[in-house]
């Protein structure tokens, strides 16, 4: 059975492609489409978003800190356990 774009995107992520732009180039589609497919894969439980830092509630400095973490405004996602088992 032929693989569709959704499966191809997941395959490329699992193979180590880092950026939607690289995946888009490889599949001949737009970056927006790749990002849309990633959202769908996320809702299907194949991709999960990585939290970018500890929550302030669990930080040992919570009593003296007002949230000074410098967090780059990017989304980092990884294949879920389900995807890696595939």
């Amino acid at each position: 059975m032929k693989m569709g774009k959704m499966e191809e995107v997941l395959r490329l992520i699992k193979e180590g492609k880092r950026f939607p732009g690289d995946i888009a180039r490889e599949l001949g589609i737009t970056v927006e489409e790749v990002e849309g497919i990633i959202e769908l894969l996320k809702s299907l439980g194949y991709i999960e978003e990585i939290e970018q830092g500890p929550s302030c509630e669990t930080c040992p400095l919570r009593r003296i800190c007002y949230g000074k973490c410098i967090v780059p405004r990017l989304k980092v996602l990884k294949p879920s356990f389900k995807a890696l088992e595939e």
């Binding site: 849309g36 497919i37 769908l40 809702s43 299907l44 439980g45 939290e51 007002y66 973490c69 990017l74």
Partner: protein
Amino acid sequence: MVMRVVALAGNPNVGKTTIFNDLTGMRQHVGNWPGVTVEKKEGVFEHKGERFLVVDLPGTYSLTAHSIDELVARNFLLNGNPDVVVNVVDATAVLRNLYLTMEIFEMGLKNIIIALNKVDLAEKKGIRIDPVKMSKALGVPVVPLNAKEGAGLDELKDKIWEMAHGKIKTNPVLPRYDPEVEREIEHISKCLEGTELAKRYPLRWLAIKLLQRDDEAMKLVLRHLGEDKLKEIMTHIGEAEARYGRAMDLIIASQKYEFIDGLTHEFMGHGKVKETLTDQLDKILVHPVYGFIVMAFVFYLVFKLVFTFGFPLQGILDDAFGRLGEWVAPHIANEALRGLVVDGIISGVGSVLSFFPLVFLLFLALSFLEDIGYMARVAVLMEGILRKFGLPGKAIIPLILGLGCNVPAVMATRTLDKEKDRLVAMFVNPFIPCSARLSVISFLVGTFFGGNALVALAIYLLAFAVALLSAKLVSRFVPGEESPFVIELPEFLLPSWKSLILHSWERSKEFVQKAGTVILVGSIIIWYLSNYPVPIGTGNSYAEKLGHLLEPYLRLMGLDWKAGVSLIFGIIAKENVISTYSILYGGLSGDALKEAMMSSMTPLQGFVLAVVTTLYIPCIATIGAIRAESNWKWALAVTVYMITVASIVGIFIWQVGTALGL
């Protein structure tokens, strides 16, 4: 008369809430869906003399049962008997949005209207959609909207009214799958034929959900048809998956997407895709060569801004603390108490607090870079470098967090999948200069180099280089392998200045709070050690004795006993390095302290001290965080390693610098 119910369904951020607000105005009620903490919004609108109840469903990308939002939306569509379903579709992302549409169609619902929102934005992006053809292809009415402007809303209300009164006949298109998948759907459907479930749910939908191993669908079979039936169905699905070598849910989702892709060709076309400003900027900002040049320039500008505007303000604060000391001194008769308050507390804490403007400006600059999206580009640039040095690319996030504070940065290494990656990332993280070290670097660069931003930048770059080389070294002993991940870059956005300033203020507040606690206690202890059992200058105060113990070793890097005492107290909090110097010089601050230091140290010694302070040891809180995230042995290894590296680098710079006559 019973109100007709209109369900509003769609992906997140498609303008669903705007449409809900446009339709219902102020007549809204917000509560929770029964049994869950998902917000339920309901509102009423009137059209052609009839009132409609609008239910805003949670935004979802699909109707699987993976999240509570999806389950709530799905259960309402299945069991809530809405008279009309308005499916809001974002015209700029039709492919992704129609996935949810197809899931709704597969549920067997007929009274569906597509509200095609953001048509204006789609046109700007060169996306052409023919609503008439789209309606024909999908088999349901399509209403183009620009919800922000309220355009198309009257037509939507008309369509809702007509559909609720049975004046519109629809024929929603159903996704077709490969023959093999269709065969599996048919097989499962036959297994369910004539059962209780067949009366309650559309068979095709249930069969597809079972093939996708949907938890809720499996529970339905178990509850109504028993364990044997469920086992029979699941065994069949397992065999099918073994035959195709892939999970059925992924095959079905993928083929559904392909079906949608084919369908869109009937009504959607792309003009020449215009390159956005973000695309144009990214060509330079994440370029493997130009990107680094820009990054170095940007960070040079950050230091330039911090020093140019920060030092004059720091001078004002420093003078203010000096005057406060002069004003307080005559009011305290007891000599020891006067010494403690004026030379210990006011000078010690004041010398640190005076750096508040610099810390605030640094956070302001970093918050600006963070909010516009530049820090994300830095992360992408550095990610490639990290991998070359044996660190997993994902470790860039904890490293960037370290610019603010190393404690949450060490905790953020939890996001790395492998234990070995976590250990390496934790090992190198304390080398990243936190905001506390910025005040020490600023103090020394201001004193010895007239606040030259290039010198500060050089110290930061050196710290990054040491972190990378350490990663390379440690990863040889603790090898790990890269796990896959993908990074999505945000669009560039202009931040709101108000939120930027408020955010920077919140971040800098910790600096003030720390000055009132850790630095205050540290200043009192340092003052005591400097004045007992005999005052400083005799060579017999505790501080001098402590410093002299380290002096032979520190001499190798050109530093004296005062540096030794400062570095010891810097372990508690790095800012203590400044307050210690202030107290050891008899409570001097501001220009007087600078002059005193310059008369006893050369710029080379000042540079060595700045580098050693940046590299020599994590603060106590960071050591504690490393211990909590790994173990004592690792925390000890990091500490010993950092002292060793700082010593080697310090000795090297001093010896080479001296040989060069600097």
